[in-house]
Symmetry: C2
Subunit: 260 residues, 2 copies
């Protein structure tokens, strides 16, 4: 157990950069998770925890979790509340933060099983949407999530927090383009989610597994080459005056209909 007191300490600087920069996360291969529950989720899912930062108050209040995490993590540092604020992404931090090695959750995609039902995300940009979608995907037992590499960073603090730990448990794969992924996985029946009166209504579809439903960008929907590669188009019928749904809501209703 080491006390850190300076914001110029290399470990603190590293944590701040990991919080702020997707590029730095990509270059170093690490990300941060904050809060007692998320840090314990990381531990329970056997993620590689490089560094564990904790405040004195938190290590007393959550002594059981502190003991487990400090034993499990490579390094543990006790930091002051003000120093913790600098590495935290929340206004009222709990005083637990871990630096974690990026996850390898791709084995699920090596062999597609007959029962597999996947969700694919094409250029999704809002970290709150992505976090919520991962949480919903786990809640309804989606087999895994495929992300095009131009989606927002899955390791951003907002995504990790919004996923409520699903990021540690849910298989996910980042691919160059969904169109490539679909070409490489011809066994999957694919459904492109679109806003169109001509597409099949989600209420009329029996999702044939193994399958994948593709959901697009918040403003622009799916890329045209993704739609072209999909074997089916699916739409969520709307009755009101709204023109579209929030992307996380649309994805969740599709997940719900596919999995129920």
């Amino acid at each position: 157990m080491l006390f850190l007191k300076s914001k110029d300490n290399i470990n603190i600087k590293n944590a701040v950069k990991l919080k702020k920069s997707a590029k730095y996360r990509r270059e170093t291969g690490y990300f941060t998770a904050e809060g007692v529950r998320l840090c314990m989720d990381a531990l329970y899912s056997n993620a590689v925890i490089d560094t564990f930062f904790v405040t004195e108050n938190a290590l007393k209040k959550y002594s059981c979790e502190y003991n487990k995490l400090s034993e499990y993590a490579d390094k543990t540092f006790v930091v002051s509340p003000s120093l913790f604020l600098s590495i935290s992404d929340t206004d009222t931090p709990q005083g637990f933060l871990c630096i974690i090695k990026v996850l390898d959750k791709t084995s699920q995609f090596d062999t597609i099983k007959n029962s597999d039902k996947f969700l694919a995300l094409d250029n999704l940009q809002d970290p709150n949407n992505l976090g919520t979608i991962l949480r919903t995907a786990e809640a309804f037992n989606i087999s895994g999530v495929i992300l095009s590499k131009d989606c927002c960073d899955i390791y951003s603090p907002k995504v990790v927090r919004g996923s409520m730990g699903a990021i540690f448990r849910l298989p996910f794969l980042i691919c160059d383009t969904l169109s490539d992924f679909l070409t490489n996985n011809p066994r999957l029946t694919s459904y492109a989610a679109v806003v169109s009166p001509d597409a099949d209504k989600v209420t009329d579809i029996d999702f044939i597994s193994p399958c994948v439903v593709a959901v697009g960008n918040e403003g622009n929907g799916l890329k045209s080459d993704t739609i072209e590669k999909c074997s089916n188009c699916v739409t969520i019928p709307m009755k009101g005056r709204a023109e579209s749904l929030n992307a996380s809501i649309a994805a969740s209703i599709l997940i719900w209909e596919m999995m129920k």
Copy 2:
């Protein structure tokens, strides 16, 4: 058309306070809506627009909308980009912002129709969730939304923006407690959304209209006296390891199942 140049101008100060303070919005009876589309939604729904702020760039770029709004609003002020930033709630503002009188959308609730299906929210706290729920409620043609008065402020800029204008079109009612509302509206079949294996599964329920589904707080769910007042309990069956859904996702799946 008047040019405003000082951030100490009383109209600017008023707009800043309306943006920041729920208390000030309540006291004055006004709120702000930002962006070309939201301002036009306010106009099209006959909201009372007290003040219209616009930047020079925006009034050229959106001249048609500018003409309509400046004719409709009581006052119009042209402001510099930097002054606009001070009243704006976004990082890259479009240059349109209106101060609008709080809405009166309660007439729908005066006489309950046989076909009415309502959503009720109990102490919902996250403005992003509330905005998204209003957007979804409109998309699926919910008859109206009832909010307990301890919900987050429906007139906060985040809610207004997240609703994508639904706030201007969707009937809503703010009541002291949902339990009072249910007592005063005994005709409504009421469904309390809970996380419980004992509750009826949403997939097994035929929602009997007129009805209302009540959804609770992000962390704590529904208040116990709300649950007691409801005639039925409903749950969204989950299969995965997640313990719960994001409140806006849970509400949206319930809306979807109730309205489809």
